[in-house]
């Protein structure tokens, strides 16, 4: 590939036919970090070349999301209590309500659109990296919150400090719900004391978020923290979340606020985490995330992850050291850190294996294919063989709206190499050719991106455009191996 395409494959999503190919790719890539991010996509596949802004109605804030979930629950309740309905009628009505009120379907499609049509492709890649680092899977109400989390906790904080993103992520209701912190109550909190006195309720600590905050989000097990550090972290987190009493839940439907700290659930007293004293009160979490963000083990852990994701499959310690140095010099400024990652990715000539989802976005962009439905299409019963965004990501083995483990998807190439994973590459290439109307022929794509001679020999040795298309997209060059 030409240098521009090589770099855009590693740290971006490749150029669409309407994109200008930048002359100075490093300048372009760094400039991308400051590009404005917009939700753009297509309304309908029947008018697939009209790329426009997503409607405001489909970009709900937290309170609107809460209301949608409340409606969904009310409706579910109503349908399930209606004895006159047959099982089939009931399922059909539930499905209609799901489509109307469950924002996850639109969020997931909007996520796909952003990546396929985005003008801020480098930002989208970093955004996905961090959304995966701070995994929020589906657990109860989080289905309606993941889209908001990706936009407001990750993308909106992409150019601030890591400490700030860490704090925003940790206090977002999606994270507090997904890792059970909303249930956690300090054992010596007013609430716990009251419960013990009345003997009516049993409440206490839940260490799920505390453990993953240390293990996955920041310092990693390399820091040799102890069970006491984890417990202290969980105690600092106790009270963060919101009211989970059933009547309250039914009334509000969903935890509709960010930054909610319920002081009567908080654990009093000073806690000690990795040698740092954290005082009681709402500011405690802020002090903790600041401390963790500046910890050397956090820097090393994340420098390694960034290098593995963007620079090379065989991570080089010189790259890690460089990113760590920039991290320390800039005080954890993500814009500077991302810039350093971009520079190392460009300097490294090693290929970089791409996740199935990233590969799919890149294939769609360079061939100018319309694969994902428009936002108006998903409420229609289209007589079309296309899959929903949900099914596409599931089938690729990389759904972001799913019950998943908090460690996120691996950036290690070896995980993604298996017969079944590679059969998906072959089949999605064929499906895109058959159903998504690529506007560019394999030859046009090859000429434009400047493939190497091995790729050209592979493709030109085959007869038929479909075979050529499949082979091109599954070539070592396009897969980044």
């Amino acid at each position: 590939m030409t240098e521009s395409f090589r770099v855009a494959q590693k740290i971006g999503l490749l150029f669409r036919p309407e994109d200008d190919i930048p002359r100075d790719i490093k300048d372009w890539a760094i400039g991308q970090l400051s590009t404005e991010s917009k939700s753009i996509g297509i309304k309908s596949i029947s008018n697939s070349h009209q790329i426009e802004y997503w409607p405001e109605d489909y970009l709900p804030n937290l309170s609107e999301r809460a209301e949608m979930l409340r409606q969904l629950r009310l409706y579910e309740d109503m349908i399930q209590k209606d004895k006159s309905l047959s099982k089939i009628e009931m399922d059909r009505l539930l499905w209609i309500s799901e489509k109307k009120n469950n924002i996850r379907f639109l969020d997931e499609l909007r996520f796909a659109h952003r990546n396929v049509y985005a003008e801020d492709q480098v930002k989208q890649r970093f955004s996905l990296f961090w959304s995966n680092h701070f995994t929020v899977g589906i657990s109860g109400t989080t289905r309606g919150l993941i889209g908001h989390f990706m936009d407001a906790a990750i993308l909106d904080n992409l150019n601030g400090s890591f400490a700030n993103m860490l704090y925003k992520v940790t206090t977002h209701p999606a994270m507090l719900t997904y890792l059970d912190n909303i249930y956690s109550v300090g054992e010596n909190s007013e609430r716990a004391i009251q419960c013990r006195k009345n003997n009516k309720c049993k409440v206490g600590l839940n260490d799920n978020l505390g453990r993953e905050l240390l293990e996955l989000h920041t310092v990693s097990p390399a820091a040799n923290y102890t069970e006491s550090d984890i417990r202290a972290t969980a105690q600092i987190l106790a009270g963060w979340g919101t009211i989970v009493d059933k009547p309250q839940l039914e009334k509000f439907g969903l935890f509709n606020h960010w930054d909610a700290f319920v002081s009567n659930r908080a654990e009093p007293g000073t806690k000690l985490v990795l040698g740092k004293a954290i005082y009681a009160g709402k500011d405690g979490l802020h002090n903790l995330t600041e401390h963790l963000a500046s910890h050397e083990h956090t820097q090393r852990h994340l420098a390694h992850k960034l290098c593995q994701h963007f620079v090379s499959d065989d991570v080089q310690s010189v790259d890690i050291e460089h990113i760590m140095k920039i991290w320390q010099q800039s005080g954890g400024d993500l814009r500077k850190i991302h810039q350093a990652v971009i520079e190392r990715a460009i300097a490294s000539k090693a290929p970089k294996f791409q996740w199935p989802a990233i590969w799919l976005f890149q294939v769609l962009r360079i061939s100018d294919s319309t694969y994902f439905l428009g936002w108006d299409d998903i409420h229609k019963d289209l007589n079309d063989r296309r899959m929903s965004a949900k099914k596409v990501f599931q089938e690729l083995g990389q759904p972001f709206w799913a019950k998943r483990q908090p460690n996120g998807y691996s950036s290690s190439k070896s995980y993604w190499i298996s017969g079944e994973f590679l059969e998906r590459r072959l089949r999605f290439s064929e499906a895109i050719y058959n159903t998504a109307h690529p506007q560019l022929t394999p030859k046009e794509v090859m000429d434009r991106i400047g493939v190497n001679s091995a790729t050209r020999n592979l493709v030109e040795g085959l007869s038929g455009r479909k075979r050529q298309f499949i082979a091109l997209m599954c070539s070592p060059e396009l897969m980044g191996v």
Partner: protein, 383 residues
């Protein structure tokens, strides 16, 4: 490991077939036995051994587990019960075709899912110390094929060139890729990517099979059928996830019980799929850790240490609960919170490999688990 104290000795009287690892004889070579097949069910998230197989005879159990204690466990012996959702497993025990290993774990105490999952599959000296898995290394030594029923090839099966995976594709607008085209693409690739593309080309799946549902139960039945076929895989791996019940895990009913019910159905489906080959089968569960002995503040349990291993299959001649029970009193718990592991589960896996693949124990210890010190537990499981 803590030394055995009087409290534990008292419990041991009730457990029947107990096991003192220090006194295990090392002998025997099993190549004269017919080759069997082995299936591993990966229980992801950390199975709560005290819920699956509650030690009903331990006086500390009830107070530790007030909200999540079982009201009516199936009685296995005076000391151990079985979760009521493990119906099929209990019937297998009654027929002498299933055993339980309790208070067992891989030697890993740090309570991280991701280190623990890596370690239980890798089976090396510590988490992330190997890029191959113990079952893959065993198959490589025995030159026998294995198959995972998942989209990825899990670490546990890596290390042999004779392993593949199966997870039927559902991509609208696509068909089974042309063999000739795959060959061309394979030739353009190198190393493990080329081998994986080659596997796509080599895959023989009849049309009926390509449409099987992808839930663990259907996949287990399919895996059993494949293993019962001449020339089919002798090992299979299936995953059952969501055992990580930090909040509201339930008791007889509820989320942890639901996972156990699914596990029970997976074992049942294996048996159906295996048919006559069941007589030569062993199925074992594997989980990264157990859960805290005590219920947490939110009706669930947090990451712990020892759990339970369930073994089923016709290769088992006598059902047993194999345990050196460490006790649940405060002083008996690991770091005053978790069930202690008194049996190294690697030894249990090694015994299953020895029985199925006919490899010598010392060879398994050194080449499969990369240690010379693994105790032999074969006679406790298969005699």
């Amino acid at each position: 490991m803590a030394k055995l104290d009087m409290t534990r000795r008292k419990f041991l009287k009730f457990t029947g077939a107990s096991l003192f690892l220090s006194a295990v004889p090392v002998s025997g070579f099993t190549k004269d036995l017919p080759q069997g097949n082995i299936s591993v069910i990966l229980l992801q998230g950390g199975m709560d051994g005290l819920t699956a197989v509650p030690p009903i005879g331990d006086p500390a159990l009830a107070s530790l587990r007030q909200e999540i204690g079982l009201s009516n466990p199936i009685k296995v012996n005076p000391f151990f019960g079985l979760h009521p959702k493990l119906q099929h497993f209990s019937k297998l025990m009654a027929r002498g075709e299933a055993s339980i290993v309790h208070a067992t774990s891989f030697p890993y105490t740090k309570r991280s899912h991701f280190e623990g999952q890596n370690y239980m599959q890798g089976g090396g000296s510590s988490p992330f110390s190997t890029t191959t898995g113990w079952l893959g290394r065993a198959l490589d030594l025995a030159l026998l094929p294995g198959r995972a029923l998942s989209l990825e090839l899990p670490l546990i099966l890596r290390g042999s060139l004779n392993v593949d995976n199966f997870y039927p594709a559902r991509v609208n607008g696509s068909s089974k890729p042309e063999k000739w085209l795959i060959e061309q693409i394979t030739m353009a690739h190198q190393a493990e990517v080329a081998r994986a593309f080659q596997a796509v080309g080599d895959k023989v799946v009849d049309q009926a099979r390509s449409n099987i549902p992808r839930d663990p139960v259907s996949l287990a039945k399919y895996a059993g059928e494949q293993m019962s076929t001449k020339g089919g895989p002798v090992a299979s791996v299936i995953r059952v996830n969501q055992f990580d019940t930090h909040a509201l895990q339930g008791a007889d009913e509820g989320s942890h019980g639901d996972r156990l019910e699914l596990l029970d159905e997976v074992i049942k489906a294996y048996r159906e799929g295996l048919g006559d080959a069941w007589d030569q089968s062993i199925i074992l569960t594997l989980t990264e850790f157990g859960r805290t002995a005590s219920v947490n503040g939110t009706g669930g349990t947090d990451h712990g240490y020892a759990s339970v291993g369930l073994l089923a299959g016709g290769l088992i001649d006598n059902s047993r609960v194999i345990s050196e029970w460490p006790g649940l009193a405060d002083v008996d718990l690991y770091e005053e919170r978790d069930l202690y592991a008194t049996i190294d589960y690697r030894s249990v896996c090694a015994a299953c490999i020895e029985r199925v693949l006919g490899l010598d124990h010392d060879l398994i210890s050194q080449k499969v688990f990369l240690t010379s010190k693994l105790k032999r537990t074969y006679d406790y499981i298969f005699s």
